[in-house]
Every structure is written in structure tokens, then in C-alpha cells.
Amino acid sequence: MNRLNSVFADKAGALFIAYLTVGYPSLEETVEAVLLLEKSGADIIELGIPFSDPLVDGITIQQAGTKALQNGVNINRCIEAVRLIREKSDIPLIFMGYYNPILQYGPEAFCANSFSAGADGLIIPDLPPEEAGLLEETALQHGLDLIYLIAPSTPDEKIKYVASRSRGFLYLVSVEGVTGVRENLPPGLQEFVERVKKYAVQPLCMGFGISTPEQAGQVARLVDGVIIGSNIIRHLSDENWRTSLPAYVHELKSFLRIQEP
């Protein structure tokens, strides 16, 4: 059992999965923020690999990525960040990155180096399973879980197909839209999750557009993990993040705990 499987197996209540862009606001602060997030109660970390043209990201994560690229962050630096975090922590780490940088780096080298540095999984939002054959095989050989996404618009047949291939967990995109903080959760989440549960045996995690502790609490009733990104980035953009971020995570966790049976 890898770190990712274990954390789901041992969980009490929904897990909190925190996304941050590697290199925002700086590479050192990414490592520090991950350790602080873990200490404050985060269960899994998604490490965003910055890309010049992040098609499924809203303005907050776009700007974080631009800054990270200006800081010179590339895949090698991201893998280095994983290594530094692994020296101090066993929290599951998942890379989230667009396909082209991974393709140019070389899927084989990427999977091998990521795994040996201590990464556990991989999410590529612009690589659907139909196009992922080679990468999926490579990831599997190297012990990385390739996690796929589905959306509320995904038809049943397709949910079944994607669920049969997603390892680690299945990523449910809550909205038709890009990442970003939104005032309200979209309607119909419960029906969406129920539809997915007919076909999926792995844990289900939901992300995109979830930001407040209250929203996280509502989602936590439905799924095994809640993914929050833009709001973490927002905290990191404030120089007081070392105090504001733990406070936010504590409050968030209290809403996730309420949902425990």
C-alpha cells in the first residue's frame, strides 16, 4: 500500500487536500508551506507544476504560475521540492501539471525521478484517458498513481470508463468551469456523486471552486476528500500567511470533522 492508499484507508471523515503552485511565492516558501499545512491538518498535498498556458485555471492560479515561472521553476525544481519535503514529511504528494512540460521532459524520466524523489501520484488535467495510454503504463511501472478527472457533464458510460482507469482516487470537478474561488457551490452535487458511486470503487475527491470552510463542510458530506487550491494561493499571497494559513486550515478541519458519523 502506498502513502496515498494508506491515508484513505486510515481516514476518519473527509480528507483535506491542499493545492499549491510550486515556486509561489518562492520555492523555499513552497516547502515551508507544505510542512505548515501538514502540521495544521492537511492530509494530502497537490503540487502544481507551473505552465505558461494553464487552460483550466482561473486568474488566481494563473498568476501564481506566472510568478513561479519568473522564479525559474521547472520540472526539475518541482522534483527537488518533493525531495526536500520528503526529508521531513510522509504526507502524500501528488503532482498536478499540464501535459506538454511532462511530454518534453520525457514521461519515463518524469515518472522515474518523481517517484524516487518521493511523489505518490499525478494529475494531468489536459490528458484524458484516451490519450494517456503510454503515460499511464509508465506511471504504473514506476509506482505513481495516475489520477483522472471527471465533470458533472460526463455521461455515465464515460464515468465507468474513467473510473476503471483512475488510480489512487477519482477527481470530481465540482463545476463546469475553471479553478477559482466562487461564492456558492453549484447545484446538483449530490446527484453527481451518486451517479459516480454507481461505477467507482476508489475514493472520490472533489475540487474546483471550493473555498470556504462551510462549502468544504457541505462537500465533505458527499465525498472522501475535499480539494482546495485558489484559496490557499490567496493566503500565500499575503505576507502573514504563516499565521493566516494555519488558522484557515484549523477552521476548515473543524467543518470537515463535523461531518464524521
Binding site: D53, L55, G58, Y99, N100, D126, P155
Partner: protein
């Protein structure tokens, strides 16, 4: 009407290029588009309506004009023929594809259209078709392009479109496409993304090619009627690649016809400031398909450069990558100042002001002309007219006009 060569394959591949690299949320809309398009292809009423609008509203067929003065001034003995897409309604070939996709959107019951634009020619065409078909229209356009193609921004607004400025990055076509995709992801149920070139995920490269193939089909008929033979050269500029593929595609099987795509060489291929994707790029995945790409060592997409907003794009249609790799077509590049000279040269010799994009094809033709033999036939796609470029042309000619 449309040739039936079996590319792309079912997954949208032209050899090693193409495919469908999109977030899952868009998959149902792309599937729906494939179904609607296959239906429309075999739907007589749809085809008749498209033909009628192309003819009565947009001005097809366009003339094939022999540019005798242009050829003489270059000392060329060949026949140089201009395919006059510049005479179409809204001023460029873009309207061919927009009418087709506009009718498809209406057929699918999508009442909202989103599109990107670079030069603004595609945007104006979309705005016009949306007005005529009573569809809501949102155009994303880079801030730099809004400034350098200001007349087209005003035209889009007059036609009832909402033009949304896209900041960040280079403020050009690449960012406009990014934003149009994001808009589509968030509105996919009621919105059709009316992509303006043969790029993007399957089925766009196929659909846009088929709608633009009317250019090459007409050329074939016109040339055979007039000269009873096929042309020796086809020359067209390549941004995303829609006007060129539209000219080339009906001739792909005719091995004697040489096909030359002309990319934007900007300030020179060595300067790094160009948009010569097929000449200088490497294979990668961007905006939904695998194709040649301008990118850095880390796989981040480069900022392209061209004096012509319509060619200022770091990607290119996958079918062109396929035609390049298979050797069936050749791709070259001309620089900004060569294109500007061609604008002036055609204006003075033929009384036709070409778009800066099309001027790239003309500039290459000017280089080729002296080496052509008597009786050879060259068809140059005059993809658009230069009205939109007057500000840039005046600036670049530094007081000469």
C-alpha cells in the same frame, strides 16, 4: 462537395499529429459536435443553406485573377493567379468557416457563441454571422491586438458582439485562445466555441478544413475551365493554417501540384522573434492537439512575434505538421519587412491592398517569381484585404504615405 480522404482517423489523428487533449468537461461537447457535423454533411437542406449563404451573403465564388502587372514587374514569365478571398464579405477567408460552424451551432441549439481573434478578421466574421443568425456573441481578443487592429474591434461591436480584452502574457492570439477555452469550459452546455483556424482538439481541425476547402475546390474548377490543367504551385500564408489548408486540401492527391506554406519570419528566424512554427518548432501538445510548437526547453509555450496579428501564434494545425513530415507540402518563412514591401508592391502594381497575413504569401511569390518558367501556373491565396492594417502600414512606412 468535400473530398473524402480518410484523414484524420477516428481519434482525430493526421499521422502522428492531432488528437484530443482536453479536460474531460469538454469531451461531451466535442462528441456532440462530431455527431452534428456528420449529420450536417449528409443533410441536403443544411448544405443548400450553407451554399446559399456563401453565395448570396458572403459573395462566393471568389474570382481567380491573373496578376499580370505584378508578374511583369517581377520579370516573371509564369502566370500568377490570385484567389480573391479578400473580396469576401467581412474581408477575409475566415467567413467560409464561420458560416459553416454558425449553422452547425444553430443546428445544435447553442444560442451563444464564443470565439478568439487575432487580427480581428475571424472575430468580425463571427460577429457578422451571429448577428445574421441571431446568436449571442462573445469575442476574446488580446490587449495588444485590440490596439493594433482597432478598426476591427469597432466593427465587432457595431455588429453586436461583446469584445473582451485579454491581458497577461503577450496579449495576442495565444492568450485569446486560452481565454476562449476557459469561457467555453464554464459555459459549454449553451455555448459553441467557434474556433477560427485548423487548430484545437478533434474535430476542429477537420471541420475547419472542410469548410475552408471551398477555396481549393473553386480554384480547381476555375483553373481547369480556363487552362485545362492543374496549377504548378499553390502558395498561402500559414498562421493556424486555415486558408492554406483550404487551398491545399483538394490538391493533396495531385502529386504534380507543389504546395508551399509561408510562415511569419518576424524579425528573422535567428532573432527568436518570429512565428515560424513549422520551420523552427518542435512537436508538443498545446490547445488540444499534438503538433509543431514554438516552446522553450521546459515545454512552456513561447511568445510568437509577427507584424501581422493573424500569424502571431506559436502553434499550427496538426494537418500541416503531417503534410510537412510526409514531405507533401513545404513550409518557408518571410520576414516582417518583406511582407510590408509586398503590401506596397501589390498595391502599386495591381491596385489591390492585401492583408499583412496574405502579404507573406505574396512576398514569397516575389522571391520565387524570377525562377519560374514560361507557362507555369502559380496560385496565391489572397486570404484577406488590408483595410484593417492601414494604421500599422502607415506606421511602418514612416511617413511615406
Amino acid at each position: 462537395m468535400v473530398p473524402d480522404i480518410m484523414i484524420p482517423d477516428e481519434k482525430g489523428y493526421f499521422g502522428n499529429f492531432g488528437g484530443r487533449f482536453v479536460p474531460e468537461v469538454l469531451a461531451p461537447a466535442l462528441d456532440e459536435l462530431i455527431r452534428a457535423y456528420e449529420e450536417a454533411k449528409n443533410d441536403n437542406a443544411f448544405q443548400l443553406e450553407l451554399d446559399r449563404l456563401l453565395k448570396e451573403w458572403a459573395g462566393r465564388p471568389t474570382p481567380l485573377y491573373e496578376a499580370v502587372n505584378f508578374a511583369d514587374a517581377l520579370g516573371s514569365k509564369a502566370r500568377i493567379l490570385l484567389k480573391r478571398e479578400d473580396l469576401l464579405h467581412t474581408g477575409a477567408h475566415k467567413i467560409n468557416n464561420v458560416l459553416g460552424q454558425g449553422l452547425l451551432a444553430a443546428k445544435m441549439g447553442k444560442r451563444r457563441i464564443v470565439a478568439e481573434t487575432g487580427a480581428g478578421q475571424h472575430g468580425v466574421a463571427v460577429a457578422a454571422v451571429c448577428a445574421m443568425l441571431k446568436l449571442e456573441c462573445v469575442i476574446h481578443m488580446g490587449e495588444k491586438d485590440m490596439a493594433r487592429q482597432a478598426p476591427n474591434v469597432a466593427r465587432m461591436r457595431l455588429l453586436g458582439a461583446e469584445v473582451k480584452p485579454v491581458g497577461g502574457g503577450s496579449g495576442t492570439l495565444k492568450e485569446a485562445v486560452n481565454e476562449a477555452f476557459r469561457d467555453w469550459v464554464a459555459s459549454v452546455k449553451e455555448t459553441h466555441y467557434l474556433l477560427g483556424s485548423v487548430v484545437g482538439p478533434h474535430p476542429f481541425p477537420m471541420i475547419v478544413r472542410d469548410f475552408q476547402s471551398v477555396i481549393g475546390e473553386e480554384v480547381k474548377r476555375q483553373i481547369i475551365a480556363r487552362y485545362d490543367r492543374l496549377p504548378d504551385y499553390l502558395i498561402a500564408c500559414v498562421g493556424g493554417g486555415s486558408n492554406s489548408i483550404g487551398l491545399f486540401y483538394p490538391f493533396v492527391e495531385e502529386q504534380t501540384v507543389k504546395m508551399i506554406g509561408v510562415e511569419a519570419g518576424g524579425q528573422g528566424l535567428e532573432s527568436g522573434r518570429h512565428a515560424a512554427t513549422l520551420n523552427m518548432g518542435r512537436t508538443g501538445v498545446f490547445h488540444g492537439s499534438r503538433s509543431f510548437l514554438l516552446q522553450d526547453a521546459d515545454g512552456n509555450i513561447s511568445t510568437a512575434h509577427s507584424v501581422s496579428a493573424g500569424l502571431d501564434y506559436p502553434g499550427v494545425g496538426p494537418e500541416h505538421s503531417y503534410l510537412k513530415e510526409s514531405g507533401r507540402a513545404h513550409y518557408t518563412a518571410v520576414m516582417d519587412d518583406e511582407a510590408l514591401q509586398a503590401v506596397e508592391f501589390l498595391s502599386l502594381t495591381e491596385g489591390i491592398i492585401p492583408a499583412l497575413e496574405s502579404a507573406h504569401a505574396l512576398a514569397y511569390t516575389m522571391k520565387l517569381a524570377p525562377s519560374l518558367r514560361e507557362g507555369e501556373i502559380v496560385v496565391v491565396n489572397l486570404s484577406g484585404r488590408g483595410d484593417k492594417d492601414m494604421e500599422i502600414i502607415r506606421e511602418q512606412m514612416e511617413g511615406k504615405i
